[in-house]
Symmetry: D2
Subunit: 186 residues, 4 copies
């Protein structure tokens, strides 16, 4: 059990002034504090997706992401909710790969400007990540009214999230370890 | 690995002349042929749900179902698609329990009178079974135009399903074994 | 424009101690105060759905509901969220009819014990009511933490809903009038 | 009734060798044959979305699309299904605008390489277009196994679609006319 799980975090928006940035960095920092996982940070803004020749083979053009997913035991996706759905940039990045995701865990963080905490983008992601072969945990993190949750330096202002993030990551570790055992033994 | 997995099958409709009946019985029979699982058959028609005093404690009134879910390593849900969603009777039965489902596998069989094989009821079930704590497999079985798939005695007329059901059940076994290891070791 | 719209309200849960009861009654009372609609109240608890012979012709056994939907210009559905989905009783009642719903408006009220206001049950209802031929409005009412929203007599404790319910019903009236014109002229 | 409805068609994929291209062009041609609508063709590949400064004001940078949606009475979206969801490029384009969509009709065409006709991408789009304020019709077009449906020149090989497309467009016209009356009279 002492082996660390390798867990990419994906920030799912490339919008200017995106506030999910604070959320993703904070979750990433909490992951770094734990001794059971080794997180690595990805940002959809760093993917230069071609506009006119986007075929299914394209994952090979993003070797850093591809290698991370191949090595991954689990993923964390941090996403704002745009019109009740996922950002286009997030979907384009997730669609880059296919079999690399199979039998790995994923945990979802929803972010919203309004009061509902990204619950709807999470509901819309669940059937999609299932099709990728990912097993999604059932203990989401939700950040409603994200504009009120952090100070200007990105410090989280609401202590209740300290307990929530522990439960969120504990569950991800549980699912990632069970599936890792499966990949190695079944 | 020699231990058999315990897997309740739930037929999710109580409609008269329901054709999903043939599907559920056929899947159940295929499960019985395997030496890695012990299936048990449930039918939502057998649940006498009270109309006027239905609280969250109600699962205790259906001990056979409750005990089966507690013992279960995985579930198979066979459901027709009614107006793109799940039958009310199926939802009422699934809502009877809660923590009993956690960290177990579920595999979904969609049935339709028309050409789309219950794909839409499956999409609508995925976020719901996730909330129950079930981990859903990504290899569904779909029975479109179910009225043409069986003879009057319930014999399946399309041999392609022999291979499909093997893949469907193999994946369920994989997920159920990984989660069982997790429940016993994590 | 002086003609009143006929709008059935459907309370979608039959659970004991259901708190959505307060919500449905309050919305119904607000509808009664308006001079542009004539509401009528339905409760899924009053539908005695048979357990063992439920075919598509069953709507004829509930003539009061059927006649109300035939006469309706729009519907209001008030529903709690059970495991991210709709209550079984609500779905069973909605599935009783089919062509009677076509080209009429529907507005959705989500209720939850927790903080997310039934957003997920609404998302799951949207594709389902579309298949019925209903046109759903995009201005939902959400009642999170419903246990804190009413006093023991069912009086709403949060004045912010006075403005919200006006916008919610105004939008329903808009959509119902547009579709009514369509049904009569196209 | 003699006035033509203005209806943008949006092809929702920018993938190389996209077969939805044939579908969108065929639907567009059928729309041109009718005397009740004036279609205009858009392709998400023609939108040069910036990678690093994508804010909500961005619609102003695509005036041709924005003006078309402002003028539109309805939309047709033609989309393949990628991992049960919508293509990222389609979502990014739809998210460019907001109030411009309100109280207009939209009809959905689903395309898939496999047998299920894009039913799942349609289900995932329905709650999203509702949030935009669009009213979605309930008579989709589905193109399963799209690779077998057209010859090399883009001629449709299956005559059954002639009748289907008529029903699909008739329903769009119905909804677009009802909402147009509403926008002008309510």
């Amino acid at each position: 059990m002492s082996e660390k799980l390798y867990v990419p975090v994906l920030l799912g928006t490339n919008r200017k002034d995106r506030q999910s940035d604070h959320v993703a960095k904070w979750v990433f920092a909490k992951m770094q504090e734990r001794d059971d996982m080794e997180p690595v940070y990805f940002d959809v803004r760093d993917f230069d997706l071609p506009r006119d020749h986007y075929g299914t083979e394209i994952g090979h053009h993003f070797p850093e992401w591809r290698d991370a997913v191949i090595r991954a035991d689990g993923l964390v996706i941090v996403t704002p909710e745009y019109n009740h759905g996922y950002p286009g940039a997030l979907k384009s990045v997730l669609d880059l790969l296919l079999k690399e995701y199979i039998h790995k865990a994923v945990a979802l963080v929803g972010v919203s400007a309004g009061p509902w905490g990204g619950t709807r983008v999470i509901e819309s992601l669940v059937p999609m990540v299932r099709e990728l072969g990912l097993a999604v945990t059932f203990t989401d993190l939700n950040f409603p009214k994200v504009g009120t949750k952090f100070d200007e330096d990105g410090n989280l202002l609401d202590d209740a999230y300290q307990k929530r993030v522990k439960g969120f990551l504990d569950e991800l570790v549980w699912m990632a370890r069970a599936l890792k055992w499966g990949r190695e033994n079944l």
